[in-house]
């Protein structure tokens, strides 16, 4: 049941919602479409559901053209961001809707429909709510009804549009885990849209990062986080420090600290170095390597300490996360002086349009974007 999306393009009047998007989705995968609003992720989802059509490109399921099928024949389950529950129907009638509208030849018997609805409501832990109306449910309950309704038609593909967007933080996290378990149990190919990178990284098998109608990177959450392919991915996924660097004499230098060899052999003068907050090492007092920084604030959140540091050598404020056990609390007093250096950086040439950075990198021998270990 592999889905092949190739060269999808969709233009709205003033901007391209999808710009030559190609993607392959293997069966049973839990895939996240991650991007800011206007990146085209929802448009892509709506095209898969049959609610929107591309100007060009194709979607194939096992070699068959999916775009030729009307939305109602696609065997797709869709959960809307605001659930779109039918407010005049009870929970049970909502779930039964997709079965009741089938032509009578393929419509299950009344008793079979009731049994399936009962089973599904049990599965989403709402068996006691069958007679209620959507307005009488909480957000999390409505979301589960929408999910049961989508699953009732036994779809080949499940699509979720910002499935947790309208829920409060606590419900969101528990429902997230629950959804992942449900997916593992059903083994249904699932595509969900989100602008929340934490959600995408936690839930998905693979993450597709989108920006301005294009795919910036496709990869496992680990790869997306550790080896971002473009500056956009780097800045959009997770927190990151953006540091200007120079390529001098075959070396990459920022604020007087040598970060490593020049990855482009002198082809670029300027570079941007990205360092995630947890990728700093605090150097020992007698070890000269590192930027001299002064602690501005220290926020303790559970086992982690979030620090903001004034780095005079770089002329900027750095953010650093350290885990509580590494040092005693008083090391992080505001005003304290430290020496820090990055353990791992991601480098892109500067002075190039961000969107072109990746293309440039692939054209030359040394990759433009290269995560590299730093120091000894």
């Amino acid at each position: 049941m592999t889905l092949e999306l190739s060269h999808l393009t969709r233009r709205f009047t003033d901007y391209p919602a999808l710009d030559d998007v190609s993607l392959e989705i293997p069966p049973g995968e839990f895939l996240a479409l991650l991007g800011p609003s206007g990146s085209g992720k929802t448009t892509l989802l709506r095209i898969l559901a049959g609610l929107d059509y591309p100007e060009s490109g194709s979607v194939r399921r096992e070699g068959r053209d999916l775009l030729a099928l009307d939305a109602r024949r696609r065997k797709v389950g869709l959960v809307f961001q605001h659930y779109a529950l039918f407010r005049h129907l009870t929970v049970a009638d909502n779930v039964a809707f997709g079965l009741r509208v089938r032509p009578w030849r393929t419509r299950p018997k009344r008793a079979d429909i009731a049994a399936r609805v009962e089973r599904l409501l049990q599965r989403v832990q709402l068996q006691d709510m069958a007679k209620r109306y959507p307005a009488q449910l909480s957000g999390g309950q409505r979301q589960r009804v929408a999910l049961a309704r989508a699953l009732a038609v036994e779809p080949d593909l499940l699509l979720l549009d910002e499935p947790f967007g309208a829920l409060d933080a606590q419900v969101r996290v528990s429902l997230r885990r629950w959804l992942r378990e449900l997916h593992d149990e059903f083994g249904l190919t699932t595509v969900f849209v989100t602008h929340d990178q934490e959600e995408a990284l936690e839930l998905a098998d693979r993450v597709v990062v989108m920006n301005r109608g294009r795919i910036e990177q496709v990869g496992t959450p680990e790869a997306i986080y550790r080896d971002p392919a473009t500056p956009f991915v780097c800045e959009f996924v997770g927190k990151v420090n953006r540091i200007a660097a120079r390529c001098e004499g075959g070396k990459l230098v920022a604020g007087g600290l040598v970060l490593g060899a020049d990855p482009w052999d002198g082809r670029h003068d300027m570079a941007i170095v990205y360092v995630r907050p947890e990728q700093f090492i605090v150097a020992a007092p007698d070890d000269g390597e590192g930027w001299c920084v002064r602690v501005r604030h220290a926020f303790r959140a559970g086992g982690t300490v979030h620090l903001t540091l004034d780095a005079a050598a770089l002329g900027m404020v750095l953010e650093m996360d350290v885990f509580g056990e590494e040092r005693s609390r008083d090391t992080w007093q505001p005003g304290a002086c430290l020496r820090v250096r990055p353990r791992h950086v991601t480098v892109f040439p500067d002075g190039i349009h961000p969107a072109a950075a990746q293309a440039c990198g692939s054209g030359i021998v040394a990759p433009a974007a290269r995560p590299m270990p730093v120091g000894p």
């Binding site: 779109a84 407010r87 307005a135």
Partner: protein, 287 residues
């Protein structure tokens, strides 16, 4: 202590304000709504119940009642269909001329009914554009029932559409899209999802449309020709009797017309009461 006294001193003027406002509203309603209505009924019964019944069982009165109900029965379903279709088009689609359609829907509200009637006379009357052709084929529109229906359709066209458009725009198309993805065809989507979502607004629209169709005077007066027993609807009958100094007769028919209006109101209230609980369950954030 002062904290306990303070609200007390500030509550009194507020209560007074409220009482004054309520009083003004009630007096206004009494003088401008209830009093005239009461006058209609008392005048109708001024010379006794017998005279009243004699007035309304006259054959002209009977035929005006039948004609009014007939016109309403033809106009309301037509504008029901047009209103739903127009509201659907306005709320769900982007197309060239959408603003024009919106303006056209409002046209009957902004144009004087008399002018609306005149337009039909100019189009279909004996000296009108299509007059000779219609005459040659023996079709009568002006000074006949078709003219009354056309004029009433024009006048009541906005009611259903205007009631539905804001609601359908606010509701959006997500419910309908959900129905389609779940496998519903166009008719199933309309009857199982769209219609239940708009049914209350639709009912209000239909009731308003009906009330206006039965009560319209101006446009109907122009195209009617005032042929007693043939082309006089109830409002026209009231006016003709009044001009003939038949006050009891005029008020008797007027009271029937008012009763039809009150009946409409009663049906609406009954439905609201009957489905009130359901309505309340769906109203707040049912999406």
């Amino acid at each position: 202590m002062s904290a306990m006294v303070l609200p007390r001193t500030s509550i009194w003027p507020r209560r007074l304000q409220r009482a004054v406002l309520v009083l003004v509203a009630v007096v206004f309603m009494l003088v401008f709504l209830l009093l005239p209505l009461a006058v209609v009924f008392t005048e109708a019964l001024a010379e006794g119940v017998r005279t009243f019944f004699a007035a309304i069982t006259q054959s002209e009165a009977q035929s005006s009642i039948r004609l009014t109900l007939l016109v309403a029965a033809m106009v309301v379903p037509m504008n029901l269909m047009f209103g739903v279709a127009a509201a659907w088009a306005m709320a769900r689609f982007e197309f060239r001329g959408k603003a024009l359609l919106g303006a056209l829907i409002d046209l009957p509200f902004s144009v004087s009914p008399v002018i609306a009637g005149l337009i039909y006379v100019l189009l279909f009357g004996a000296q009108g554009w299509f007059g000779p052709w219609l005459d040659a084929h023996g079709i009568r529109i002006i000074f006949a029932v078709p003219g009354l229906v056309l004029a009433s359709i024009f006048i009541t066209l906005p009611f259903v559409a205007r009631e539905l458009i804001p609601l359908m725009q606010a509701q959006g198309s997500e419910d309908e899209e959900a129905a389609r993805v779940l496998g519903a065809n166009g008719w199933q989507m309309f009857f199982r999802v769209t219609l239940p979502n708009i049914r209350w607004a639709l009912l209000y629209g239909v009731l308003l449309c009906n009330a206006r169709a039965m009560g319209e005077f101006g446009a109907v007066s122009v195209v009617s020709g005032h042929i007693r027993g043939l082309t006089t609807t109830m409002p026209l009958e009231v006016e003709m009797r009044y001009n003939e100094y038949d006050y009891v007769g005029a008020f008797a028919v007027a009271s029937l017309l008012a009763l039809l209006g009150l009946l409409t109101l009663a049906i609406k209230t009954l439905l609201e009461w009957r489905y009130g609980a359901e309505l309340a369950a769906h109203a707040p954030g049912g999406r």
